[in-house]
Amino acid sequence: MTRREFLRIFGATAAGIGLAGGITSSVLAGEKAEKVLPVLKKIAADRPPVVWFQAAGCTGCSVSLLNAVYPDIAEVLTKIISLQAHPTLMAATGEGALGVFEEAVEKQAGKYILIVEGAVPTAEKGLYGRFGEDERGDLTLLDWVRKLGGAAKAVMAVGTCAAFGGIPAAEPNPIGAKSVGAVLGRKVINVPGCPPHPDWMIGTLAHLLLFGLPELDEYSRPRLFFREVIHFNCPRYYDFEKQRYARHLGDEGCLVFLGCKGPIAQADCSQRLWNNGVNWCIGSKAPCLGCVQPEFPDKLSPLYAALPEEKLRPKIHPNEKKKPGETK
């Protein structure tokens, strides 16, 4: 699904339901969506259950999700999917909240999509991260990820912590933080980024719901969003070709010698842009940190140091494969 198709499908919701013009109380209350496009109706009819769980993270992925521009996030969360549980948004607290997670495992096994944000602490039997308790004592984030992940229809690991371990797993990894995939031993769709762009998260979820599993790369990331390296689509690429390099932060020129990880970071930031298109990392004259990569942060540190010479010039531009007559 291209960005255009995605926007066609989801961008239509606001207009279709007549919300664009104003804020009404019925918006969140489950008003009948009669004018919804058929394709949306297909999803909305069942309102597939989604359970969001937070392990060792910072809530940044959740906050980024709320930054979605199109589709309207309130609409997605309350009408398109059935967001059964989300620790930052759910009304229930304490036992009531635990009950919601338990109910998903017991009554909706094999039906819900699990989204995990944050890495999973595994050292000391998981006791670095606790979440509720039962008659035997404290339950851990590790217990919950296993339980929720085991019974889920599909699992999405959002953010670099959940996808690859990220910063909690950085040396010396005091809590034995692991990725969700490493803990579950099952197919997990990784949507990395620190945080991930809201379009990546919602787009991947939409793909799962509309067309099934998206095409994934070697790191289990949807190719749709994580394909070309940023370097080739960077507005400063011409500076790189002309060997005009920035020497200090804030200078003009290509940022590779200030630690820019654009030559290895596979993401569409330079085209998609962030926060309603107002800016992005290199756009703000700061080097790309490579936050979507499994190497982040340890193998990309020091963050402001240049990549090794051999990595500065990526081998093949992915678009070269598309050239007429190319046989590869």
Partner: protein, 448 residues
């Protein structure tokens, strides 16, 4: 007979928190707060390139990354001996200010409101605690509309921050030496235009909604006082040397205003899952050594104390110390102070925008040093935030962080004195132990 109530997890906060209470005769008589997640940022920072701190430590909090990045930048600037240009000071104020407003709006509408307003009968707004929702059906409906409008406004706040910060959450431009982004006129205008909309929302929707909730739940001006000591590191410097700030640096102890001396801060760990040998240290000498099985401990949060006293931090503390708000100390006073602070900052932002100089420098080169130390003291939306760095042989040797939640949600200290939130819970009436919504209101008023 007293009864034990456990709220675990406390949802609609940032992080993982558990609260345990004893209720006797319908009132809370004992309380403990447990921070139930350890990630070990202070340990992860060791041995790294010092400048990486401002990127890595932002990831402590996805709601206030800007403040962590700033605290780290300030600490590094002291250690590296570099002074950012005026444009950088102003841009940082703009970014920090708009993130305060983002955070305060998110806190009221999306984290706290569901304790006072009945949400729609659909997941994730249902199930919820039962009983004691006092708004009329019509008021309730209007409020739910504002919940949604607030989602849009907080998103715009992030757009404004990203104009100067690159992206949000986790902006990239504030570095030791200044800010990489340039304050071009198109960005200034774009910020300004959105600011008008945000300030309109604060004045016409947020503040009136807070007043309406305060009226309907007037008894909450009497509930949840806590330690009654306040601390603020001060924030939004108004001049190059940080002599004047929009919110003053200071403490308010046992009814008296005093100046703040950072040397009087100690972090204690008798009741925290850290080695006892590391207790009672000033963060400059402090270290972090987890002991997850330590007996008698119940939290990953350390217990910071100022002159031996637990202190509340946050909007009410800042507004109190600044003399902007001194009506009372309670659940509702915290919520009101947060809204009034948003109003004050929104107005200040308008002025700061006009002080930017598009053609002037935003960043100075910060040359690395072999040895050095620095403290970055600022205020996150939810309260005082300090980062302390020590550089040896060009690398980070030690890094200590005291985030606001350490102050507010601290466990008992070495003298077994409760933290501010624990203290605030005492005396809270609980009508129905199965639905302890009153306690949830006390807890969330701190924005933990």
């Amino acid at each position: 007979m007293s009864k034990k109530i456990i709220i675990d997890p406390v949802t609609r906060i940032e992080g993982h928190l558990k609260v345990e209470m004893e209720v006797d005769g319908g009132t809370v008589v004992e309380a403990t707060c447990t921070g139930s997640l350890f990630r070990g940022f202070e340990l992860i920072m060791r041995g790294r390139e010092p400048k990486d701190a401002q990127q890595l430590t932002q990831r402590i909090c996805g709601i206030c990354p800007q403040s962590h990045g700033l605290a780290a930048s300030l600490g590094l600037e002291e250690a590296l001996g570099v002074e950012p240009p005026e444009n950088a000071r102003i841009m940082r104020n703009l970014m920090q200010g708009i993130n305060y407003i983002m955070s305060h709006i998110l806190h009221f509408y999306h984290l706290v409101a569901l304790d006072y307003v009945k949400g729609p009968e659909t997941a994730p707004f249902s199930p919820a605690y039962e009983g004691d929702y006092r708004l009329s059906k019509k008021e309730n409906e209007v409020f739910i509309g504002h919940y949604r409008q607030a989602l849009d406004i907080r998103k715009k706040c992030h757009e404004m921050l990203a104009l100067f910060g690159g992206k949000m959450p986790h902006s990239v431009t504030s570095v030791p030496g200044g800010v990489t982004e340039k304050p071009t006129v198109d960005k200034i205008v774009s910020f300004q235009w959105r600011l008008k909309e945000v300030n309109h929302f604060i004045d016409q929707v947020y503040v009136p909604d807070v007043q309406a909730v305060g009226k309907a739940y007037e008894d909450y001006f009497q509930i949840g006082a806590g330690s009654r000591n306040f601390l603020s590191f001060g924030v939004f410097p108004l001049d190059k040397a940080h002599h004047q700030r929009l919110f003053k640096r200071g403490v308010y102890l046992k009814g008296r205003a005093e100046s703040m001396d950072v040397n009087k801060i100690r972090e204690q760990v008798k009741h925290s899952w850290y080695s006892n040998e590391t207790s009672d240290k000033n963060p400059k000498q402090g270290t972090t050594s987890p002991q997850v099985q330590k007996g008698g401990a119940y939290s990953f949060i350390k217990a910071p104390r100022y002159a031996g006293l637990p202190c509340e931090v946050g909007p009410l503390a800042r507004m109190w110390i600044n003399g902007d708000y001194r009506k009372g100390v309670s659940v509702m006073d915290r919520i009101v102070a947060r809204a009034l602070e948003s109003e004050k900052i929104g107005q200040a932002l308008e002025g700061w925008l006009t002080q930017l100089k598009p053609s002037e420098k935003t960043c100075r080169h910060a040359a690395p040093v072999r040895q050095g130390e620095g403290a970055g003291l600022t205020e996150a939306p939810r309260g005082a935030l300090g980062h302390w760095i020590r550089i040896v042989e060009g690398l980070t040797q030690d890094y200590q962080i005291i985030p606001p939640t350490n102050w507010n949600c601290s466990p008992r200290d070495d003298l077994n004195v409760r933290g501010p939130m624990e203290e605030a819970l005492l005396g809270t009436p609980i009508k129905d132990p199965r639905n302890p919504i009153e306690a949830a209101r006390v807890i969330r008023s701190f924005d933990p």
